[in-house]
Amino acid sequence: MHLTLVGLSHKTAPIEIREKLTFPAHRQADALSLLCSSEWVAEAVILSTCNRTEIYAVTIGEDTGVDAVIDFMAEYHDLDRHELVRYLYITRGEAVVKHLFRVVSSLDSMVIGEAQILGQTKEAYEHSLESGTSGRAFNRLFRQSFEVGKRVRTETDIGENAVSISYAAVELARKVFDSLEGRTILVLGAGKMSELTAKHLMCNGVKAVLVANRTYERAVELAERFEGEAIRYDDLFARMAEVDIVISSTAAQHYVITRDAVAATLKSRGGRSLFLIDIAVPRDIEPTVNELGNVFLYDIDDLNGVVESNLDERMREARRAEVIIDEEIASFLDWLESLEVVPTIAAIRGKAEVIRSAELEKALKRLGGLSDKERQTVEALSCAIVSKMLHGPTARLKQAAGTKDGFTVVETARHLYGLEEAEARHGHGVFRNLLNLRAKELTDDKCKEMGDSVGC
């Protein structure tokens, strides 16, 4: 059994190639069935987003498995195999686990810390579950990857700081007012960016939107979109007394909002703070407005500065996320290793030997006074019985190792011989068992959650 990943992403392929290699949701079932019809592919999950197409597979042979996946990608999308290979990355074994954990934690995303990738990976796994192409290995791997994604988001601040101009404006507004519930904003001008920022502010609880524009009809049009109120340009400063946030993006070549005009409105504000966002170039708001008490002005460069600083902060958090990922990889590899044939056979033989020795000792005590020759004969007898009893299962396990569902046989053997219990007793300890129990509960909860979303 080999873990294999073949894929391409925004880092390796331009949009012209990525768009040719997508697997839309409605075609995933067919694609997965076709892929797993190959004798070399036992399990598969296809992760297809706008920035990446990745095929995770459990393959029988290492290179033959990779070839099978690449052939499938080329044939399915009718692409030249040699051309396609130029854009692909291929990883195997532990590197696949690490890559998946980094992907779900959004460390491999175009915008580090973005939240969508976890949901997209869950969807990909659900498609695989529905198509019956996810088995024991991927059930474990993907469920654990969701836990990793969740851990990274809760134990680090990777998704905390805004990395777009419009969200940065919202974040800053929240730093001034705490809650935006019930606040009033004034949109001055009709730029795309101001519209987007206003939308984000409204999503965060802003109550009322006033819109002002040189052309009143344009203001009315925009106000209708926000279910807000259009105001005459001449009433701008009279109405500014009642707003908390001003977003300005006019095409004016001079300052539209001056220090004196804002200072005049402050008198009727009763000490309330005023947050001004100037997204226009050239700027609409006189920079010295920021010097007034309870007034906070951010222009486009200031907002860019916040975004850059937030990106740096996310990079710092990403380093903390890598530590979490390394811990989780070790845990998964422990489990994976337990499915290998050679350690399993060794464990079975080890357990049999422990039982044989204990029983032999008891029997020898009961028999008492045996000569050395008699003792050796009894011992040889016990060895022969154990060896012959285990010969068949050992041979069949080795044989099964090379087949498509080989590790299922190995896992069954481990279950029948009670190896997991023995390892849990001897290898882990109470605390580890408790942690495992909690992890199992979380996984079960996740399964229920997933069941619900599939049902929806």
Binding site: L172, K175, D178, G270, S273, N294, N310
Partner: protein, 277 residues
């Protein structure tokens, strides 16, 4: 009972010390688990602290509000108000300041006791229930003023970050301006009536005993000034339409006078109004 009081006191101190470390680590790392443990340890410390104050009071048939015990009560009031504030405003960052301050106050109280200042006998002047309540109210009010001052300082720092378009660690860790301002306002609004009632009781007791020139005593004058400053603060906050920056500066000024008053009261053995010296 007295032994139990001492043991409970040291348990409280150790728990506050552990909470201080965790709050500090949480402030730097922002890992929520640490803030949970820090709050838990503070709660446990507060319980021990309460038991210590209660058992000492039972053992000595009433707590003598000397310098040492006043500091213990002030530390207790700070933690109590911190929990009330955290419940109301849901901002844990104040624990990073208030719990260490409580720890420092408790440590100083022990140093005062070791220096022999804790065992002062009550003068006939203070052998009255009115004086006990007067000191307790002033202590609680001072705790409220202290919280208001910390919040005001935080406001000025955060405002500076926002005005300067900085995105430092301070900017990320300090709460939004709106909530800091609300905390300062509420803490002072809570403290002011307690301070007024405390002063009133003190005046009543002074009139009863009528020490010569009590109204010109420097500490009485300073206490009147504190009352005036925070009275102006509340007026400007609720009626005057002053900016939060102006009121933050007033709160800091008022708290500075409170600090001066506390130091004078404990270090200058002059005038009629001596306590804890």
């Amino acid at each position: 009972m007295e032994q139990f009081s001492v043991v409970a006191f040291w348990f409280a101190t150790v728990l506050y010390a552990a909470a201080t470390v965790l709050y500090g680590y949480w402030f730097l790392s922002k890992r929520r688990t640490f803030s949970w443990y820090a709050t838990f340890l503070t709660g446990a410390g507060f319980l021990c602290h309460t038991l210590s104050v209660y058992s000492r009071s039972v053992a000595t048939e009433g707590t003598l509000l000397d310098g040492s015990n006043t500091l213990i009560l002030l530390a207790w009031a700070l933690v109590l108000i911190y929990f009330a504030m955290e419940h109301l405003i849901k901002i844990k960052v104040y624990g990073t300041v208030l719990v260490p301050v409580s720890l420092v106050l408790m440590t100083i109280s022990q140093l005062l006791q070791a220096a022999g200042q804790g065992g002062v006998t009550a003068s006939p002047l203070v052998e009255n229930w009115k004086v006990g309540i007067h000191v307790a109210l002033i202590t609680f009010a001072n705790a409220g003023y202290f919280i208001g001052a910390v919040a005001s300082l935080a406001y000025l720092l955060q405002e500076r970050q926002l005005k300067g378009h900085k995105t430092s660690v301070l900017f990320r860790r300090l709460p939004p301006l709106g909530s800091i301002d609300a905390l300062a306002r509420r803490a002072i609004a809570f403290a002011f009536p307690a301070y007024s009632a405390g002063l009133l009781l003190g005046v009543v007791r002074a009139v009863e005993t009528d020490p010569p020139g009590w109204w010109a005593d420097p500490r009485v004058v300073l206490a009147g000034l504190v009352w005036l400053v925070f009275g102006v603060y509340l007026f400007l906050r609720y009626r005057g339409g002053a900016t939060a920056r102006t009121t933050a500066l007033i709160a800091l000024g008022g708290s500075a006078i409170v600090l001066v008053l506390a130091v004078i009261a404990r270090s200058v053995p002059a005038g009629f109004h001596i306590f804890g010296v």
